[in-house]
Subunit: 315 residues, 3 copies
């Protein structure tokens, strides 16, 4: 594996899941592979789970880890080409990226959608510059359009908890006070479409995701119909994708909050969320504190997905 | 040892001091015990000594270390239960803590008293949530009411420098321009009360500490009487504890600054302070720069106390 | 080697270059020497290359690394002696430095010139306190007047790329929107003067550097004459050194920007810069993107210079 930025990099999902299972059961079995290898983790945005779980995964593999928060202790980076750099950004990505690449063996990058320019976001201008200029394998630690380490952990978790071969998995939009990128729902949809699960997306009108991610999923505006018979409810907020509303909040309708009443429509479904989650906006305390909530094992699997990916790249 | 949050977790003090002595003389003797174990250090507040010495202690034991400053690079955490999270805090401690626990073997937490609510501070609401929800051994890296790694290092230092079996140890309040928590004096008192030393606390009226920490100590308002014959002067500022003045500054009286005149009353006492110390507020340059000042060996012993505690937890 | 703060600490340059060559070819050959040794890196200022390359160098040597950004997560430090510390700085360097020294084996310090007081800057008041009070070997990670890890990497790079035994190396001032310290040009000049290269400095009048650094270099105000026949163009901005203009910007004349027209005057010279570089202020896109630009290999050599220095200190 030369990079890990989407489901397309992981190869056959069954094989990937078997590798993940092995890693989970044998976390310290491959420490020779990481010896004298350095993972550099670059954060343009905040992180808790990704920061900790990816470090842990690399340490389990015997790697060295260097963490850099671009906005704390480093230089602000210019991304535009051809500009006269007389403003507040003293360094250009064109230098910073190959320099970073010179000091490590694998680079992880977190760079969210900025909602300034949809074309830039969906072209992954930051992530793509890292792939192009760093000279090293790049893993996405959540980019503008996808969060593949999360989606892989989600898939591992569903495989661990599913009670039927082909569960019904429902991705539901939920309200949130801030405009959030589509990376998590896009990516989750992309991974679910690569399985043979029954996959349904439900959201208020106007929140349609990019068709390349929706793929063959069933989009169901009738929320109750979507919930009915679900084995997994995967909640997430996102801001509008479609023009002219890209990046805008169209609704904060709390009838979309995942609550016990709606969960009662399901096939005793598990509740999932990538975290951080706003309680009583995205999901009620009652649901997230219930035994059906698997958000903690889901987060714990972030070590497993990251370690599986790093191990493949180290090969 | 399952946690380390007060003197009550350390067991017999003589045994603890022997273990500390061994650790100090053999810092790298137990590297197998920390192999593939990860210490996660969580800071809600600033830190110099604790940050560095606890990392050093864990590295000496062969552990991996991950440091997280909650206010830099992570998400702001909600602590109240039952709220609708539509404000500036995107993550709840109820998720963040078990997630952190999933990525490590031991958690260190620094969370100071906030002086908003005395009951919350003295119930250690943050630390207790870590103990309850992380699923991992928790060590206090200074919580709202105690700073046990400091107190243990203080005890080790007194044992190293004492010239009589049962020295007279005096904790003296000293002035400071900011309102500071009672964690260090509370904790120091708790540890001194667990020894057979002669232990005296002196402070202006109104600065009485919580009785559970004062214990059998002699509280002496006559400062000169307190200093007389002292073998160790331990200076520290704290804000008022008693209602209705909790968290308030009642005095900035510089006659309480530790100076050469007052030190002359003692039995050629050593000067101690947990650091950081404000020179010429808490203590004069003359005293802290004198050979009787042992603040640096005291700080150096922070590695020893932390390593002794981590080693016990790893067992 | 007990410290590394200037070219005077490195000894014979030929031997140092041979050691650097060995380190570059055998990066993991000396891991026993760093075992159980800890490098503490203290940053008072931002850093990308130094932060990453020095960590990488220490990890290559098997060392542990602890990074501390003084302005993030630690306490603000007082540097003046004799003051009553009743302001916003809770800790004095007189305590902080020996405490830091107690927790590590080697200390790296980054502390830029502040332009408040030329005497303080040129006396290296911060760096010198670390040397005096830490009790441990100190390496400069760029101080007020020099950046020796950069200059050593520059020298290694010139040795790798030079086509004649005694190349002509030209240090040219270039415009910049902020007032920058003289550490990089001072240090580069000091190292170039220690070689047998032909070394020329060119800058607008008023930008003369301190004579102790200029040494035997040719100072050439006729920029075209300076460029003519150059094998290496080393660009850098700096603020004025001479009184009464210390720390001031006297010119932002973009005719000093390194461009293709001026490079055409040279002997097909390589372009060098310590980075971060402001494109189209210091150098045009055309020049820095050309094959003659060696800024990335130059930055990559920062691992080599740091590792060579750390290895010598560990001996």
């Amino acid at each position: 594996m030369k990079k890990f930025t989407s489901v397309h990099d992981i190869g056959d999902l069954k094989t990937a899941l078997e590798k993940a299972k092995y890693v989970k059961e044998n976390p310290f079995a491959d420490q020779e592979s990481g010896k004298n290898k350095t993972l550099l983790m670059i954060f343009f945005n905040s992180s808790l789970r990704t920061r900790l779980s990816t470090q842990k995964a690399a340490l389990n593999l015997g790697m060295n880890v260097i963490v850099l928060d671009i906005n704390q202790g480093a230089w602000k980076l210019e991304t535009e080409k051809g500009v006269v750099m007389d403003g507040d950004k003293p360094e250009h990505m064109l230098e910073a990226i190959p320099v970073m690449g010179a000091y490590c063996d694998i680079i992880g990058v977190r760079s969210f959608a900025q909602f300034h320019n949809k074309v830039d976001d969906y072209n992954e201008v930051v992530l793509e510059q890292f792939i192009r200029y760093s000279g090293k394998p790049v893993i996405s630690m959540e980019a503008a359009t996808r969060h593949p380490l999360q989606s892989f952990a989600d898939l591992i978790t569903i495989e661990e908890f599913k009670k039927t071969l082909r569960p019904k998995v429902v991705l539901t939009w939920a309200p949130h006070p801030r405009a959030l990128p589509q990376a998590v729902p896009n990516s989750f949809a992309e991974w679910m479409n690569a399985t043979d699960y029954e996959f349904v997306i439900t959201h208020p009108e106007g929140y349609e995701l990019d068709e390349q991610f929706v793929g063959n999923a069933t989009v169901e505006y009738d929320r109750e119909k979507a919930y009915r018979g679900a084995d997994f409810i995967y909640a997430k907020n996102w801001a509008a994708y479609r023009d002219p509303n890209y990046g805008k909040i169209l609704s904060t309708d709390r009838s979309w909050t995942v609550d016990a009443q709606k969960m009662a429509l399901t096939n005793h479904a598990y509740f999932m969320h990538c975290l951080p989650v706003r309680r009583n906006m995205i999901v009620t305390d009652e649901v997230i504190d219930s035994p059906q909530s698997i958000v903690i094992p889901e987060a714990a699997n972030r070590v497993v997905s990251a370690q599986t990916v790093l191990k493949e790249i180290l090969k």
